[in-house]
Amino acid sequence: MTEQSDQTLDSVEERFPEVVNRDEREGYAGYVVAPDSLLSFAKTLRDELGYDYLSCVTGVDYLPNGKMEVVYHAYRTSGGPALVFKVQVPRQNPVVDSLVEIYPGADFQEREAWDLFGIQFRGHPNLRRILMWDGFEGHPMRKDYQEAYFVDESKPFGNRWPEGKVYRSEDRTEYFKNVKYPEEALDSLTAEGDNKLYASMGRDASANGGRQDGGLHTERMIVNLGPQHPSTHGVFRMVATLEGETIVDLEPVMGYLHRNHEKIGERNTYIMNMPFTDRLDYVTSMSNNFGYALAVEKLMGITPPERADYIRVLMAELTRVVSHMWAIGFLLNDLGAFFTPALYAIKEREIILDIFEATAGSRMMCNYFRFGGVARDLPDGVPDTLRDLVFERLPRRVDELDRYLTDNEIVRSRCIGVGVLTPERAVDLSAAGPILRASGIPYDVRRADPYSLYERFDFNVAVRHNGDVYDRYLIRLDEIRESMRILRQVLDQMPADGEIQAGKPVYQVRVPAGEAYGRVEGPKGELGFYVVSNGSPNPWRYHVRPPSFINLTSLGEMCKGQKIADAVAVLGSIDIVLGEVDR
């Protein structure tokens, strides 16, 4: 449902007669590209039409039509709405050309689509599973796949009411029975997948470190950081090829926390997904709510009343402060300043979480947004606390954090010039949020494609130009300050009273058939929700564009040539949350 500028429209259709058609389905937008001309179409898009940023790649399984569709969302980094294009292939043997050559940022997302949908990407250099484990049978996001403990195609499950025969799922199944994998799976659990991975990482490239001058004999070796490593922010693994202490190649391995959030989302009704989005990036649940609410509201064609919108922006910006505080604190943790800076940052977060708790009912799992508004109004006392916080305390505390860390010589020597990502590569690799802006690309969804009330507020898009770890630290401080500017405006402009919900709250919303992509500038980058409805109470497709997952695409590149100890700092500067990376 994203609007497209007319100029592009004309030129795209003129340029590719017959092979590029407008998507004529009711409620859909964008173009359907013939599979054969995908590569040339993408090239034209990037080189001539200026759509240099491929944000979101995902699959949709149209089981009734026997089609598998790949949906692409591309943007111009100069701003403006998305250009959506799709490729449809038969469901039996879906093969699509890989766009990694043209948009390297498609790398992980295409691997994910292969993993979850079984769509093959021809020409992808590294088409391995990414979230599921090697040896997993089937592709779980396909509509005909049934998970373990399967009950029904969609919630609400029939056996809960009116004849609720209570049971625990775990009791119902014998161990191993309801989990589908080949019988010889246990025997076949080999290190094959890892070996393949290691082999692709250039271990054997030069047994003597390329040295011919008779210097110190070195050998390339593979080092696994993780999965359970104190500096990987969760269960996350980095496989690094080292030559001495220098990283030659680095590959992130994830999926240890995978729970197939999207499959759960497609079983759920629309409203049920709201609390599940909290669990994506559990540091920023309000932003997650925001993105999902926007997507479904686009489909439903409703807008929240003004006061609700102000409350939404308020919560989203508070979340940004929280998340950036957290990111700075834990970056310092990763640099070896164990927990003192982190706790100073978390202290401020604590007050904000108390506000969330008083308003939404929970500190982290807020579940606060509803379609067409928010769940409840701000309770008494919260606006006053917010004023104290935003006008008095937080600005001082951010300055203190600045004084505390920015000039610290150790921080500077560990961070400046480390993990550099050039602007060109940042765009190519679809980096988002602070990573992109620290590399000199002033792209912020709040400004580039404004949603909610962001057009009303006066704020700067923070940008830094060196693209190293230090700039990624600084940009978070900048953004906290900008967020506080927005917060001050929100508190001054917010109507004192008013509706907080458009229409009557209902437990099962009617969502017309169609597709929608709602995106917000989450603290970690562009957080998008792609929702396809077929008119039933459950979404047909529910996809999350997870910023921390896609930002990891550039991790390997940032780490190459750095020392192994810096890999941890670079990872800390990306600020990942595994709940979102693994979903």
């Binding site: 009411w161 759920n268 708790e357």
Partner: protein, 200 residues
């Protein structure tokens, strides 16, 4: 000069260290185990360490805090309890992890459904404390509790709560959520009033 930044930073650390002691003096030694001090300490005026001396001290629980649902029942003057729940099943239908099981009760004589649940189960291992059941219950019969200290030695059996374990009197509800309770009672009274007017 090299090292100035570090010294400046250590100054901040030192100030954080000293600040708690200054705050301690300000409260004349009553900084801890004192509800009044706790409220200030944890708010935007708070200075020094934020640590709460749990379990001797507990953070005040805001009204909207939600942790596990309970069922509200009303009591007659003679003490008989009436469930507010009519077993309409909306909570079971809106529950995201589907942790609510309800059995409707039938009148033994006529065999027709009676608006009271025969059985009501919540699997607290699965409940995600989202509060949607309480939000969408049209009879204000299921509400979110404040009691979060539920640790037990039992891993499975006691975690599926039955109707007896879930039920709480309406007074309890009024005590933990006074604002919500008052608002709902006013709404209810208005509705009754309108109904009685229409009836006349």
């Amino acid at each position: 000069m090299y090292g100035i930044g570090i010294v400046k930073g250590l100054g901040v650390t030192l100030w954080h260290f000293v600040e708690t002691y200054i705050d301690d003096l300000r409260w004349l030694g009553r900084r801890y185990y004192n509800d009044e001090a706790l409220a200030v300490r944890q708010g935007p005026e708070g200075r020094g360490v934020f640590t709460v001396q749990y379990p001797e001290e507990k953070l005040p629980i805001p009204e909207e805090f939600r942790f596990l649902p309970f069922l509200v029942y009303e009591q007659d003057e003679d003490g008989t309890a009436h469930d507010r729940c009519t077993s309409c099943g909306i909570c079971a239908k809106v529950c995201p992890p589907q942790c609510i099981w309800i059995v409707r009760s039938d009148d033994p004589d006529t065999g027709r459904p009676v608006p009271e649940p025969a059985e009501f189960y919540i699997d607290t291992d699965i409940c995600m404390n989202c509060g949607l059941c309480a939000e969408f219950c049209p009879f204000d019969a299921i509400k979110m509790d404040h009691d979060f200290e539920l640790s037990s030695y039992d891993r499975f059996e006691g975690h599926i709560y039955n109707k007896a374990k879930l039920s709480r009197p309406v007074d309890y509800y009024a005590s933990i959520r006074p604002t919500n309770y008052t608002r709902e009672e006013i709404n209810r009274a208005e509705k009754e009033f309108k109904k009685s007017r229409r009836g006349r």
